[in-house]
């Protein structure tokens, strides 16, 4: 095939890597930038995770033990901001950087310099955000949703919070523009849209969601800024503004944002399940259309986050039915994943285990989401631990598990070495058991009425909180295994073949492991017969 030819042709420039720190600071190479994104998100995962450990420690017993309530609220607020904008989103962008060019047969991303900038904004943005811990008035403590007027009580850290959000938004939008420009312009000849791997498809759709929704968040936080410092009254009742309007604008961004977090995870799982079931993905086209429908519908459901704010009945009914309708394309996806595995010759390597756990546990999160879509019962669930359990099922056992699966799936390709399978399995089983011990009891706490974002609680909640905290500590410690596996794999191990996995199909598996610094400088030819 033409790959063999192309490898010979660009053989000389394999070793032309810039040396020293400059290789990373000024990098325009999609693989290096992808690696930096992934390492950055792993660091942020541990920073955000440490905050979660503080939360679970304080909630281990009723009463106030270790931290004061203000600091506790900073922990919940900054944990969310760090995990969403620092861990899950950059991990997704990092995977897109690494994999999309080598999946579509492109030499690099379309806008490599912008790629460098969108990564290097992130450390500055998080320096702004995390420096607020050392300021008069402390770190943001009014919830990651930044509702006014509470958020306005933040001390000196307020403008830092706003500008950090601005920078994070700019970084993500630049990354999204780059991904769309790459996929639209740089596909190898014969790589039509309906032949794209599903991971690429989910990222195109995610990128459009980013471009359409993050600027709205930027607008909302700019309004908060001018309300506080420049005398505007967008959300100040005294000036004729309306604080509830912030919630509408915020969630107009916020609901597409949750799909920004989960759609790349859908893509990852859609790559892994066919590989280890040794069958093509069931219903490829319906997967593409289902993903697009979910993204489209996500702009019309925002008010289900604020049913209790006071809305006319027609509004509540509209948002209830609109929200429930998203279950239809999501159900299509779950069905297709199960059908992909049906009668496949399955093997259970770590990426497959994480993907299967994703399908099962994400569905649990999806079902609790449907429960909360029902307006009248949502009044009971609103702002309780039930919602905490729900969004951690979809984001931890959903998005984060898919990211774990992606790391195990592609790390042999990235490093050229196989990871330690028994350590990977240990990581999987410890994580899967402990994450359920951590979050499942929170459903019961929420139904019994325990409110979220409160450092103390009534004594009848003590047992489930203790169990949840123990699960939390085990889950936290288990993640160190992941770091161990990654370091061990980077340092050496059994050499990976080009294809790595027996059932793996796609352009990225035709490259050597690890791929050369510059790959596909001559585009590969895609035959009509090749599958996605």
């Amino acid at each position: 095939m033409s790959e063999a030819v192309s490898h010979e042709e660009h053989h000389d420039d394999h070793d032309h890597k810039p040396s020293g720190i400059g290789r990373w600071l000024f990098s325009t190479n999609h693989k290096d930038i992808g690696t930096m994104y992934l390492i950055f998100s792993l660091i942020m995962f541990f920073i955000g995770g440490a905050m979660a450990m503080v939360i679970r420690l304080e909630l281990f017993q009723p009463g106030l033990q270790y931290v004061d309530p203000q600091f506790f609220n900073s922990m919940t607020t900054v944990h969310a901001l760090v995990m969403i904008f620092g861990a899950v989103m950059p991990a997704g962008v990092g995977l897109a950087n690494w994999m999309i060019p080598i999946m579509i047969g492109a030499p690099d991303m379309a806008l490599p310099r912008m790629n460098n900038m969108s990564f290097w904004i992130l450390p500055f943005a998080f320096t702004l955000l995390l420096s607020t811990f050392f300021m008069e008035g402390g770190a943001p403590a009014g919830g990651w949703t930044m509702y006014p007027p509470l958020v306005g009580q933040l001390g000196d850290g307020f403008p830092f919070l706003i500008f950090a959000v601005h920078f994070l938004g700019i970084s993500s939008i630049m990354g999204a523009i780059n991904i769309i420009a790459t996929v639209f312009n740089m596909r190898a000849p014969g790589m039509t849209f309906m032949k794209l791997p599903l991971f690429v498809w989910t990222w195109i759709i995610t990128a459009f969601l980013l471009i359409a929704s993050l600027p709205v968040l930027a607008g909302a936080v700019t309004m908060l800024l001018t309300d506080k410092f420049f005398g505007t009254s967008f959300f100040i009742a005294a000036g004729g503004g309306d604080p509830v309007m912030f919630q509408h604008i915020f969630w107009f961004f916020g609901h597409p944002e949750v799909y920004i977090l989960i759609l790349p995870a859908f893509g990852i799982v859609s790559q892994i399940l066919p590989t280890f079931a040794r069958k093509p993905l069931f219903g490829y086209e319906s997967m593409v259309y289902a993903t697009a429908s979910i993204a489209f519908l996500s702009f019309f459901v925002w008010a289900h986050h604020m049913f209790t704010v006071g809305m006319p009945l027609t509004g509540e009914l509209f948002f209830m039915y609109a929200t429930m309708s998203i279950a239809v394309p999501t159900g299509v996806k779950i069905f297709n994943w199960v059908a992909t595995m049906w009668r496949g010759s399955m093997t259970f390597e770590t990426p497959m285990l994480f993907s299967i756990a994703f399908v099962v546990l994400f569905s649990i999160g999806g079902f609790t989401g449907l429960m909360m879509a029902i307006t009248p019962v949502d009044f009971q669930y609103h702002d309780t631990y039930f919602i905490v359990a729900h969004f951690h099922y979809v984001l931890v056992t959903g998005a984060v598990f898919a990211l774990f699966a992606a790391v195990y799936f592609w790390i042999p390709k990235w490093t050229g070495n196989m990871y330690d399978e028994s350590l990977g399995k240990l990581h999987f089983w410890l994580s899967t058991i402990s994450v359920n011990v951590l979050f499942f009891p929170q459903h019961f706490l929420g139904l019994a009425g325990m409110p979220r974002r409160i450092p103390d609680y009534s004594i009848q909640f003590a047992e489930w909180n203790q169990i949840s905290s123990i699960g939390g500590f085990v889950f936290g410690v288990s993640q160190l295994i992941l770091v161990w596996v990654v370091i061990k794999c980077v340092r050496g191990g059994e050499k990976a073949t080009d294809q790595v996995w027996e059932g793996a199909e796609g352009l990225e598996w035709t490259l050597p492991s690890p791929p050369p610094f510059h790959s596909f400088t001559v585009p590969p030819q895609i035959s009509d017969a090749s599958a996605h």
Partner: protein, 189 residues
């Protein structure tokens, strides 16, 4: 790769994101228009007094309008002379509110109205109101303020009582006054 194609597409996507930034701001007037049309958030209608006086009066029923007064971070006393009045739909009603500046300094305030139940607020219109205007009160000054209103004849039968609520806020960023109020506010939290 077609470099101009990339730049072209990237340019369009930048425009799209700028448009969405603008759309975030456009949501503010859209939200207000939506609230005015539907009466959401207790936003009331405004009609001219000529229109209000020509409205036909529904003699078959009576609606009670209660008055609620609140102050926020402002050293004033604020009360309604009558706690409630009964009017017929289509008939002009009137209420008088009394404001007293209890402090020894000038204070500027502004009243924000709201009608409950919110679903009925589109049927409640004012022809004359002190709300939204800045009110400068000298130390110790007492002032009476009038509101004239009309309840629409189309008010659904299930509503027999409405509440008109006002909250007086200190105008923020007014030099010394605002600073003192801010300290007062901070000391409370």
């Amino acid at each position: 790769m077609d470099k101009s194609g990339v730049n072209n597409l990237a340019g369009k996507l930048v425009m799209l994101s700028l448009t969405m930034f603008g759309f975030g701001y456009a949501l503010v007037p859209l939200y207000n228009v939506f609230c005015d049309l539907t009466g959401l958030n207790g936003k009331t209608g405004v009609v001219s007094s000529e229109v209000a006086e020509k409205m036909e009066v529904d003699m078959t029923r009576v609606v009670t309008v209660a008055f609620d007064t609140n102050i926020r971070e402002i050293p004033w006393e604020f009360e309604a002379l009558e706690k409630k009045v009964s009017v017929r739909p289509g008939e002009m009603g009137e209420a008088t509110f009394v404001v007293t500046n209890k402090s020894d300094r000038k204070v500027i305030g502004r009243a924000i109205p709201s009608v409950a139940p919110t679903q009925a607020s589109v049927f409640f219109s004012k022809t004359e109101c002190f709300c939204f205007d800045e009110q400068l009160m000298e130390p110790g000054e007492r002032r009476e303020m009038k509101v004239r209103f009309v309840v629409d004849v189309d008010l659904p039968q299930r509503y027999s009582a409405l509440t008109l609520s006002y909250t007086f806020f200190a105008i923020p960023n007014q030099g010394k006054v605002a600073v003192e109020d801010k300290e007062l506010f901070r000391s409370r939290i």
